[in-house]
Symmetry: C2
């Protein structure tokens, strides 16, 4: 599904910048930050404001089009994959990887209505582990 279809389905007016920002998030699986999105798009959109990237990602998030990936002590990242999955964060190279959860996390909620679940791991990735040896 492409950016235009998604915005149309969610009744979000598909302005040029919204399309470009959503398209960037959908096509970069690196969990980009606001700055990364801004730097990537500023070249072809010289008047782009960082505030617009903040505003737009906020609209996309609030409408469930993208997910936020919060990593402690770092700027927010955005993820176009809204299926249930976890993230692993490498504290050496700062990359964020997708983690397929092999079974649903079962927990005792005692009347709590869950709206969002976040499973995240931090440590050292395969690549950085190799470099260490």
């Amino acid at each position: 599904m492409n950016a235009l279809q998604i915005l149309h389905d969610k009744k979000i007016r598909p302005s040029g910048l919204r399309l470009k920002i959503l398209d960037y998030i959908l096509n970069h699986k690196t969990h980009p930050t606001i700055d990364e999105i801004y730097e990537a798009l500023i070249e072809d959109n010289p008047t782009l404001s960082k505030t617009t990237v903040y505003n737009t990602t906020k609209v996309l998030f609030e409408n469930g089009v993208v997910k936020q990936v919060a990593i402690e002590g770092q700027p927010m990242r955005y993820d176009g994959d809204i299926k249930m999955h976890g993230h692993s964060f490498c504290r050496m190279c700062n990359n964020v990887y997708d983690v397929e959860l092999l079974e649903e996390v079962k927990a005792d909620f005692n009347g709590f209505t869950v709206e969002d679940t976040q499973v995240s791991y931090s440590g050292i990735c395969k690549n950085c582990n190799t470099k260490l040896n």
Copy 2:
């Protein structure tokens, strides 16, 4: 195990403030923030600096004595329970609850060395659900 024993075991010099701060975290299961710890202790310790609370919680965290509970868009919280467990955050009352994980989260890590796992849920707690009806 009390605060003094813990600090001794970890070879952290048990200064008066460190003992009080750790004691507060151990005895308040509410996942307090820096500000909450500071406000609670300033009365009996009029010269206490917020920087000291930051410094001390950092030392405690780095030595594995307490855990950080990061909730997006809110100041960091601290948890004296270092056993594996999740957290649920109520977006209405802003309380944070402990969640017992009924089975270990299994995931495919592909060479990633996990040092820390965070499982968190957000939504509406039992109490606030009741108020809604």
